[in-house]
């Protein structure tokens, strides 16, 4: 299935469907948006690099056994003065290969980003469904909380949640749970958008005849509704999720940069930039530049993809 023959007559059924998918509106507009294609390639490559980081990375930056302090501050593509080792993107103060730390940092950043968006999505869809379906005081409470939360910027909410979580975890566990706290903080700060869209769709669906019919014959309408609502909100949720992913990645980097995110033992791209900033004035630019460029490329690619998705799925919203 994966390797269809390029020449000759392909098998009848599957290629027909592929052909159809290839010609569908969304794919057509994708093929004619070079920016979207490049962005998707960049994101895909980065995800693959992050997933296979342990296999790709030339060094394990967190194995003290392989570190040589003599290799510290080696500029990119130049052999080290003492050991003669060469590193693509140079090394940091402790002799860690910058390229390898970026791969592992990307891994943390993407993991936190995807998990946080997944959390926000599940939470938002659930609360949105509940609010729309049950109505009444459940709806009032959920949407009021959403309103209050929207009054404050997401990053501030995330900081606060992070601070609280830090306060209630015992100090010896803080480094271990830091990543999960980060996911929780960013995820909880970003569910409102999802909830609003799903709630709106639920309200529309609730007023439809088949729901009333299901009620009349004594059936629960919830399960049927769910089957009708989810397909309806699929495209807006996808758009919000993509844009949220970019925001989550930036939020994670920001928190880690501020020193209240990923711990030094599990550095994300933001942590690496925090470390690199220390060498800005002393001339070791590569320790800062490469993680920063990676973060920018990732955030930009995801944003461009989200922008294109929004235009493609809903031409009325620009």
């Amino acid at each position: 299935m994966a390797d269809l023959p390029r020449t000759g007559t392909p098998a009848p059924a599957a290629p027909g469907r592929l052909r159809k998918a290839w010609d569908s509106d969304i794919v057509w507009s994708f093929r004619h948006a070079p920016v979207a294609v490049v962005s998707l390639v960049v994101v895909t490559l980065m995800v693959l690099a992050a997933v296979f980081a342990p296999l790709i990375a030339p060094y394990d930056p967190f194995d003290p056994g392989t570190l040589n302090l003599m290799n510290g501050f080696t500029p990119p593509m130049e052999p080290n003065a003492f050991t003669g080792d060469t590193f693509w993107l140079g090394t940091d103060d402790q002799g860690r290969d910058v390229f390898s730390t970026i791969l592992f940092g990307l891994r943390i950043s993407l993991f936190v980003g995807f998990m946080a968006v997944a959390l926000a999505m599940v939470l938002g869809i659930t609360l949105g469904l509940l609010a729309g379906y049950l109505g009444g005081w459940v709806d009032t409470i959920i949407m009021r909380v959403a309103d209050v939360q929207l009054t404050f910027p997401a990053i501030l909410v995330a900081m606060l949640i992070f601070g609280v979580a830090k306060g209630i975890t015992p100090p010896e566990l803080r480094n271990e749970v830091a990543i999960w706290v980060l996911i929780l903080a960013i995820g909880l700060s970003d569910w409102v958008q999802f909830a609003r869209v799903v709630r709106g769709a639920t309200l529309v669906e609730k007023s439809r005849d088949y729901v009333a019919a299901a009620r009349l014959i004594g059936r629960g309408s919830g399960a049927i509704m769910l089957r009708h609502i989810l397909p309806n909100v699929l495209s807006p949720v996808l758009v919000i999720a993509t844009i949220s992913l970019a925001l989550a990645i930036i939020a994670e980097a920001t928190l880690s940069f501020l020193g209240i995110g990923a711990p030094p033992t599990q550095p994300s791209l933001g942590t690496l930039i925090r470390i690199g900033q220390g060498f800005l004035f002393s001339g070791e630019w590569w320790i800062l530049l490469f993680p920063a460029a990676t973060l920018l490329a990732l955030a930009l690619a995801v944003n461009l993809l989200g922008d294109w998705l929004r235009d493609a799925l809903n031409p009325r919203l620009r």
Binding site: M159, G163, G167, I168, T254, F257, G259, L280, L300
Partner: protein, 326 residues
């Protein structure tokens, strides 16, 4: 009209009460205050006595009410880390943040609206498209990276502007200002650009899309059909209508400038309340966190109220002051 404003004030009060509850819960449940104040060598009697003096044995609601009463009077307790009253520390730090936020807000608003209008009326022009592309990079650039980039360019490479601190400040009866000295003004440049750029990008994109929406309306077509000049159509007719929705979002954006100041202040070691808050999170200094939260929510709520009033001023349909016929 009056009912509308009263309702908004009522809603604001609820938001503040909820935030107060969160802040109080921080105090009460996160990081036991007894632990924080008594240290390791303590007797059960000490603990009991302190519980009594702090009022921790009273019912939850009473404690909450007392907390609010204290907060209204500006008493947020002592900083665990600095051992000084939180209110005093905040007062000392507030001018730095407010001055930074004000300059950034003005930058973001003026350039955001200007560029938004420009890119909307020249929507197919080369410059407008270039600006739109750049703006997407602006949205993707985290604030701290913008700051680092500016420091690298203007402090490290060119050596033109300071990379940290407020420079020389003048004390005007408890309010320290950087506006009155050359070094204070210089020190403001990079942080305020850093802080304003992201908001500017957002405002610009919003103004552009709202303006494009307005330019499609019938009354704009009618204004053109009456032979009005482009300038009158764009600025007298379109911009004013664009402002109605823009004001709401922009108000929220300006509020978030104060929150985003946390990041900028960290990058530039700017001695404001944001930097204070970050340090408080790092050291779990709960009273400072709670006080900052309360302070910032008062500001947000205040800004939201002002936005509502502006809204009413711009849109006559909400004002209801014209003679209503038929």
């Amino acid at each position: 009209m009056l009912a509308y404003i009263l309702r908004r004030i009522f809603q604001s009060a609820i938001v503040l009460l909820v935030v107060g509850l969160v802040a109080f819960s921080l105090f009460r449940f996160v990081g036991d205050p007894i632990d924080n104040m008594l240290g390791q060598e303590r007797t059960q009697a000490d603990v009991e006595r302190l519980r009594e003096t702090l009022g921790l044995n009273e019912p939850f609601v009473v404690q909450y009410a007392k907390f609010l009463g204290q907060a209204v009077q500006g008493n947020f307790g002592m900083s665990y880390r600095q051992g000084r009253p939180v209110a005093e520390i905040l007062m000392e730090r507030a001018p730095a943040t407010l001055e930074l936020a004000a300059v950034s807000g003005v930058l973001a608003l003026s350039f955001g609206i200007g560029l938004g209008v420009f890119t909307a009326i020249r929507r197919d022009g080369f410059a407008a498209n270039a600006i739109m592309t750049l703006s997407l990079i602006g949205v993707s650039l985290p604030t701290f990276l913008i700051g680092i980039l500016l420091i690298y360019l203007f402090s490290v490479e060119l050596g033109w502007l300071p990379s940290f601190g407020r420079g020389e400040v003048v004390d005007l009866g408890g309010w320290t200002t950087g506006f009155l000295t050359p070094s204070g003004l210089q020190a403001l440049i990079l942080p305020s650009i850093t802080l304003g750029l992201y908001q500017m990008t957002l405002i610009m994109r919003l103004v552009r899309s709202e303006m494009l929406e307005v330019l499609r309306t019938d009354y704009i077509r009618f204004a053109r059909a009456r032979g009005l000049r482009d300038r009158a159509v764009h600025f007298r007719h379109a911009l004013k209508n664009t402002m109605v929705p823009v004001i709401t979002v922009t108000g929220l954006q300006l509020g978030s400038i104060i929150a985003f100041a946390i990041i900028t202040e960290t990058v530039f070691q700017w001695p404001g309340v944001g930097l204070l808050f970050i340090n408080a999170i790092q050291f779990v200094d709960i009273p400072v966190m709670a006080a900052y939260l309360m302070l910032i929510s008062v500001m947000f709520v205040g800004i939201n109220l002002i936005v509502d009033l502006l809204y009413v001023m711009v849109d006559p349909r909400l004002r209801g002051d014209s003679a209503r016929g038929h």
